[in-house]
Symmetry: none
DNA sequence: AAAAGTGTTAAAAAAGTCTTAACCCAATTC
DNA sequence: GAATTGGGTTAAGACTTTTTTAACACTTTT
């Protein structure tokens, strides 16, 4: 059973949505402002429907606030058709965008899709692998009990690998995931991997953590 | 580097899309009909842009055909606004739907999003043949339960043969599929086949996997 | 038996990786 | 506002692994 949080200031629309979702076997939480939405969120929500035009804080702020705190797909609803707006929201991490007025069936389809995407994804805020512990909320990493001091890129890279520790990440995937659209030299990746390996080795000489997959990319070892 | 397949019958739009994607650092494959799209797909495509209104087979058929064969996100483009259509397509497995005319920036954003979704997925693209298991995502191959260590070319070659295990691959086909445009000596293929056979034999002495078809090429045995 | 095609091996060539150090840029400090 | 600091990137060279070439033995076909 999925729990969906509706953040929408218009009481009628909010209630209508609640009813729609409940008849389609979702559990529903309601909030009527952005700040309330952040408060109501109990960490146990599968998906958020976020109306953009909220009183008080603007939608973008709420979106980033929610995404920083929880890893939940967010579908943004809005009457605004402007493309730059949409692109911005995707950039910020929205999972989908639907313009009002929308058809209920389409909304349901997009909700289903977003939940499908979410499945199989690691979304806990603390990940562990061997004796590595990585906390996505406060950007700390410990290994063998010792805190290691990773830079932002190093952290992103290690986090990415640890989110699917069995999987091989091709170099282009890592560039996509860590460097987004920036185009940097191939070697940059090597250098960062090298630095991470050194820092990990400082904490635990015995273990080998990152494995090179020749001419493909990297993965976590074993 | 992601490869995107465009299936769109309107030559101008197709070319425009190609240019747009290429300037945004994607590799592009073009097809101008659904059937061509299915043919052109070489199993190495990261995402498909599918126009709905195609001559010949309809979009839905193409969509299911492509999804059955490959696990690739498909973004459907169409001028049709009808909601039931959209819902149907989502139901069939489309990853997103964008109505024409669309803004280039929005398209790029949705492509990025679809690729992001795909990356986090534990998409089980595993092929099996006799006691060989090959995982296209992890680049791992096991035979008789033992993991074998193939190099990239060896992996590509075996993967190619296993994707159609009943079919005979001529040498020029294999060169085309594994070496693309590079021109290498005929013997290179023999050497690689020999190495693969050895590695397979190490794992299972009893079986013979790759069959030589004299003066033609190779195929999987039996 | 000759010709054409294939298999295997070892060595050369190419491709990919690792590491160190230097450079650049932006933020912070003095 | 110049100097310092720190992260991020690039460049260079040493190193490793993979791929290709080449030579020769072997097999199949004619």
């Amino acid at each position: 059973m999925y729990k969906i949080l509706i953040i929408e200031d218009d009481k009628d629309i909010n209630n209508m949505l609640k009813q729609l979702l409940e008849t389609n076997h979702y559990q529903v939480l309601q909030a009527f402002s952005g700040t309330e939405g952040v408060l109501v969120h109990n960490g146990n929500v599968s998906l958020i429907l976020l109306d953009l035009m909220l009183p008080g804080k603007n939608g973008e702020e709420i979106l980033t606030e929610l995404l920083n705190k929880y890893q939940v797909p967010i579908i943004v609803m809005s009457a605004i058709h402007e493309v730059d707006k949409k692109v911005d929201l995707f950039e910020l991490g929205a999972d989908d965008y639907i313009t009002k007025p929308f058809d209920n069936k389409e909304l349901l389809a997009r909700i289903k899709l977003a939940l499908k995407h979410q499945n199989g994804k690691e979304n806990k805020s603390i990940i562990s692998f061997k004796d590595i512990l990585i906390n996505k909320l406060d950007y700390t990493v410990t290994c063998n009990g010792k805190l290691l001091n990773l830079t932002k890129q190093e952290f992103e890279l290690l986090k990415t690998l640890l989110e699917n520790p069995t999987r091989v990440f091709t170099k282009s995937m890592l560039f996509e995931l860590v460097w987004k659209d920036e185009f940097v030299d191939d070697n940059t990746l090597n250098v960062h991997i090298s630095k991470i390996r050194n820092k990990l080795k400082e904490c635990n000489q015995e273990e080998d953590y990152i494995e090179t997959v020749w001419s493909i990319g990297y993965k976590m070892k074993n």
